[in-house]
């Protein structure tokens, strides 16, 4: 390791770093703006200036930019010398010439990197007496606020938005003192990762609009380590609360998972926690169909009585914690417990689990995905099903650029140089999906195929890699397969990505076979399978492959096998056709639903119990890579809301169920689950238990300058109430304790002296950009199985369903905003959710005689009832023309209203809807018309 001298002291530093990285990693305070640990250096802001001396005799030195200067053995620098300090001070003054100094009304204030750096360089007095520029701000959609006057032209925003995340609608306009960062014209920012601008921009130009609406300063937020429930990726988050409301979600750094960035579903989708549709009290349904409020004790007694007969069925949920699901399964018995998937999804998730469990290939985390040098995606529209992974693939295709840079001995942080060098050269990414994706711009080849044909392509690739004869397939497809097989075979770290979202088991099997063939051929191969929800994989691990499906339970309910059904955090009407769910609920006398927000299932219950949301409860979730992660309550649930596991445990105690007699705490439930369920045995490692103390004290949820605790309740009483105690976790609802160097799973917020902004993260990392000092959060439950490499290849012995004419295969088209149940109810996201639609290609449109905006009816062609002219359509939806849809496929907006009864992969007949009301254009103004 090179040794450098800084201000007379010698330090050992990491080779290949720049001086800024090295200084920050050493814990020295060197101001900076434009450098970002995930985006490298461009030397734009000149804030990180240091003095470099040629040798020991050089007493003048010269100013260099820390972020652009590589460390070298024997190099001599000064950070503290007058010349360096003076220069840095003048830079802040210059950058702020046009800055409006409006910190008191700025949403960044109190966590502003510009404030921190200004104080750090010691700049106090302004000398500029001229007029300041004033910019016109833009409307950028419901998520992000724009206040251009605060810009210091560091270029971080466009570097993130364009270079890192592939967005095309944000750019730097004009030049020198009238430079402007914005859109070509006002409008919603199109990138699914735009929300990261809030954290990337070091000033208050881009701020969180949902926070700005009901604002709280960072120091007044109560925060806890949490996990995003938006999809199965399991990004780590730090939600903040004030006055019993979730105010905002910030990224919680996890080197292996989300790194520095979240998607907008994750950042803005947690707003559902504040919904006015939340349940606050238990409700008992009266004969007139209305609900009467109960207190929690009375509710518990009702629940216990209903469970006495022992004829109880339970439906868990892939969006509920492992602990809640485990207890419910224990209460009702494994054979009466359905994990809460749809019939179509259940075997797919189970398959995703078993394929990964038995695969010789590595199940990669996101950091490892970024290292892939050739990627094949089968059937997933990642930006809409596992958004953070799409962002990771944008980095993986840059590995080619890094290779080219290495040949020229360019350091990997020389961002501008490397981008210029590589231009459009990329590592190969191939995507085979049912229609276009948001990653198409960086693919070497993207092809639209029906799910069965995606599988055929996959099996052909596997055979080619394994050197085995290829099944009969289309010549064009074969040529594609050859190109892809060659690219994967030639890669050092090939990755195959697939998942449940196109509803096809064979697609996933094909993916698994490719990665297995690669392993056999000695490539270090990776296999990653996307599952739908935050704890989908945990459910498969909990139940194994033998759990009853929804319709199996429904059949048994019809045979009057059950007196009581308990549904935990699941809206069954999103899981199956209405008739089946209606019948299930009608055939069981007591339907107890535990959920946080009103939904159709809850409304159909006989007893409704209010569940605490993820932000008010503790729970373990297993992400798609098999990482068990813990979320902690950010705040105490109001009124009678309780965590689902609390309701269930209390009921089981009342029932005197032997297995729970020793369970008192959340941690006891986790431990019991770990000891009973082999696949979940590692979950206790997700986070330390409630006995953990950080150097003898708890970890505080409130910052050391949390203010107004008395004032908050002064309208009720001027006595400050006692802070709630937390018996269940190592965190405290208090300012007292130590937020430093604890395990990464217990990081509630970042702050360090002099570093109020999120950049204080540097102080929590072992070195800048590297894992947290306390270790990376989460416990991996899926480890590669070395033994099975030599298993024989399976032939692609599936027969694709033959379509009758006039029928199309229904393929889901997911939307980052809308397809996921809860985030779609966050007010800001709701503004971006479309109403349900079908996507059809031109051939289909012509054969149906429809154009964009028309309506179509989707009909199940059931031979027995075909003559029945009165049969209601499965759905009637608006048409969108998308000519990239694969032949024979029709896309439907999965999860959006009106599509609930469509079953993935089923063939449906389409016909033009008569009397369809075309949506009229949004009329702004008051000249009549239906939308006014």
């Amino acid at each position: 390791m090179p040794v450098i001298q800084i201000d007379g002291q010698e330090y050992e530093v990491e080779a290949g770093q720049n001086v800024l990285q090295a200084a920050l990693s050493l814990g020295l305070d060197l101001p900076y703006f434009c450098w970002h640990p995930a985006m490298g250096s461009i030397g734009a802001c000149r804030q990180c200036a240091v003095v470099q001396y040629l040798n020991a005799d050089d007493d003048r030195g010269r100013i260099v930019m820390g972020c652009m200067t590589p460390v070298a053995d024997g190099a001599i620098f000064s950070l503290e010398g007058d010349k360096a300090r003076g220069f840095r001070e003048s830079i802040v003054e210059a950058l702020m010439l046009n800055h409006p100094h409006d910190c008191p009304v700025c949403a960044e204030g109190g966590e502003c990197h510009l404030q921190d750096m200004t104080v750090m360089v010691g700049h106090r007095d302004r000398h500029y007496r001229g007029k300041k520029n004033t910019h016109r701000n833009q409307y950028l959609g419901p998520l992000i606020n724009h206040e251009m006057n605060r810009c210091i032209t560091c270029y971080r925003c466009t570097r993130f938005y364009r270079d890192y995340a592939g967005g095309t609608d944000l750019a730097a306009m004009a030049a020198h003192d009238h430079i402007y960062f914005g859109r070509h014209e006002e409008g919603v920012l199109q990138s699914e990762f735009a929300g990261n601008l809030v954290e990337v921009c070091p000033t208050g130009v881009f701020t969180d609009k949902t926070l700005v609406k009901e604002y709280t300063r960072k120091w007044d937020l109560q925060s806890a380590p949490s996990v995003c429930t938006g999809c199965a990726v399991g990004c780590n988050t730090m939600p903040g609360e004030r006055y019993g409301k979730l105010k905002r979600v910030h990224n919680r750094f996890n080197a292996e998972v989300n790194g520095y960035f979240l998607c907008d579903r994750g950042r803005f989708g947690a707003g559902f926690v504040n919904s006015d549709k939340n349940l606050e009290f238990p409700g008992l349904r009266l004969t007139d169909g209305r609900f009467d409020a109960l207190d929690h004790h009375a509710a518990l007694m009702r629940m216990t009585t209903a469970c006495h007969s022992g004829k109880v069925a339970g439906i868990g949920s892939p969006r509920a914690s492992v602990e809640s699901n485990y207890l419910l399964r224990l209460l009702v018995g494994a054979k009466n417990f359905a994990p809460g998937f749809s019939d179509a999804e259940q075997p797919l998730v189970e398959l995703a689990f078993s394929l990964q469990q038995n695969s010789p290939a590595l199940t990669p985390d996101i950091q490892t995905i970024e290292s892939a040098d050739a990627v094949l995606v089968l059937g997933e529209d990642l930006t809409n099903t596992a958004p953070r992974i799409a962002l990771a693939l944008r980095q993986s295709v840059r590995n080619k650029a890094y290779e080219m840079a290495a040949e020229l001995r360019l350091q990997s942080w020389q961002d501008a140089a490397i981008r210029n060098l590589a231009q459009t050269m990329r590592s190969p990414l191939f995507i085979a999906t049912t229609a276009n994706t948001r990653l198409d711009d960086i693919t070497e080849d993207r092809v639209s195929l029906s799910p069965d044909n995606i599988a055929s392509l996959g099996f052909a690739i596997a055979s080619l890699i394994a050197g085995e004869p290829v099944d009969e397939i289309d010549q064009a497809l074969l040529r594609r397969a050859e190109v892809i097989a060659t690219a994967l075979r030639g890669a050092q770290r090939p990755l195959v990505l697939s998942g449940t979202s196109c509803g096809s088991a064979v697609v996933m099997q094909a993916a698994a076979q490719i990665s297995q063939a690669l392993c056999k051929a000695d490539n270090r191969s990776m296999l990653s399978l996307v599952v739908p929800e935050a704890n989908s994989l945990g459910q498969a691990m909990l139940t194994g492959a033998t759990a009853p499906t929804l319709s199996a339970l429904s059949k048994r309910a019809a045979a009057k096998e059950f007196d009581t059904l308990i549904v935990v955090e699941n809206d069954l009407y999103r899981r199956g056709p209405k008739e089946i769910v209606d019948a299930l609920l009608a055939n069981i006398p007591n339907v107890i639903v535990i959920d946080s927000m009103d939904n159709p299932t809850l409304s159909a219950s006989s007893l409704a119990l209010p569940a605490a949301s993820f932000a008010e409860s503790e729970g373990t979730l297993v992400s798609m890579e098999g990482r068990a992660q813990r979320h902690f309550p950010v705040f105490v649930p109001a009124h009678e809301r309780r965590s689902s596991w609390v309701w269930l445990l209390a009921c089981m105690k009342e029932l005197e169920i032997e297995e729970v007699s020793n369970l008192h705490h959340f941690d006891d439930v986790t431990r019991a689950c770990a000891s009973q369920i082999v696949a979940l045995s590692g979950i206790t490692g997700a986070a330390p238990d409630h006995h953990f103390r950080n150097v003898g004290v708890k970890v505080p949820r409130q910052t050391h300058r949390y203010s107004g605790r008395t004032a908050m309740h002064a309208n009720i009483s001027v006595h400050e109430p006692k802070q709630p105690t937390d018996e269940e976790s190592p965190l405290a609802f208090s300012m007292e304790g130590l937020n430093r160097s604890q395990p990464g799973s217990l990081l509630p917020y970042v702050w360090a002296p002099g570093w109020n902004s999120n950049q204080s993260l540097n102080k929590f990392q072992s070195e800048v950009g590297a894992p947290l000092k306390g270790g990376t959060a989460g416990a991996r439950l899926l480890l590669p199985t070395a033994g099975s490499v030599n298993r024989g290849m399976h032939k692609s012995n599936f027969t694709s369903a033959k379509l009758q004419s006039g029928q199309w295969i229904m393929v889901p088209r997911y939307r980052i905003f809308g397809s996921e149940e809860l985030s779609a109810k966050a007010p800001a996201i709701a503004e971006l959710v479309d109403s349900g639609f079908v996507e059809i290609n031109n051939v289909c449109a012509q054969s149906l005689g429809v154009i964009e905006g028309d309506g179509v009816e989707l009909q199940r062609a059931d031979p027995q009832v075909q003559s029945d002219m009165l049969k209601a359509p499965v759905a009637t939806l608006q048409v969108r023309i998308n000519d990239t849809l694969a032949e024979g496929c029709v896309g439907y907006s999965a999860g959006l209203s009106g599509t609930e009864d469509i079953i993935v992969g089923e063939p449906l007949a389409l016909q033009k809807a008569q009397g369809w009301q075309r949506p009229s254009p949004q009329i702004i103004g008051t000249d009549g018309g239906s939308n006014v």
Partner: protein, 166 residues
């Protein structure tokens, strides 16, 4: 060819042909962005939002990316200009040699300030940082013609009817 037909509504065949000729010389279409802007400006005098979007589409860029380039260069006009643009140098040498009073002179004569266009749409007055003729300062350009060693008297003649023909 539907895409091409869509474009013609905004860009003429001639413009497209000229842009395509530039495209033949660059490895990445975006590399011809400045040339494409100059071509369309030569035909239309300025770059409207519609032109910008059409050029961006033709080059496979986003409007924001191309606007970033268009607005970076002071000689790409994103607002309409008069038939002739007066570029008055106000950099150091010309400033020392009295460009400020020249500007006053022009403004008085044409009734427009910096950045403005005459009511008859004949002239737009813009500042320019060094026209590269410092030895003949103060200088200005009217359209494509450079005028050197300008003084208040000669400037008066520049805008007389028929001045161009001289």
């Amino acid at each position: 060819m539907t895409m091409r037909q869509n474009l013609i509504a905004v860009l003429s065949e001639g413009e497209i042909a000229e842009i395509d000729a530039e495209l033949a010389h660059v490895p990445i279409p975006a590399g011809a962005a400045i040339d494409a802007l100059k071509i369309v400006q030569a035909h239309r005098g300025w770059i409207s939002d519609e032109s910008l979007k059409a050029i961006a589409q033709h080059l496979g860029m986003s409007a924001a990316e191309l606007d970033g380039i268009a607005t970076f260069y002071t000689l790409i006009f994103r607002r309409p200009v008069g038939e002739k643009v007066i570029l008055l140098c106000n950099s150091v040498t010309c400033w020392m040699k009295g460009c400020d009073s020249l500007q006053q002179n022009i403004s008085d004569q044409l009734g427009i300030g910096m950045g403005e266009t005459t009511a008859d749409n004949a002239y737009t007055l813009l500042p320019m940082t060094c026209l590269g003729a410092c030895d003949k300062a103060p200088v200005l350009m009217i359209g494509d013609d450079l005028h050197e060693d300008v003084d208040p008297q000669s400037v008066a003649q520049l805008f007389q009817p028929g001045a161009e023909e001289q």
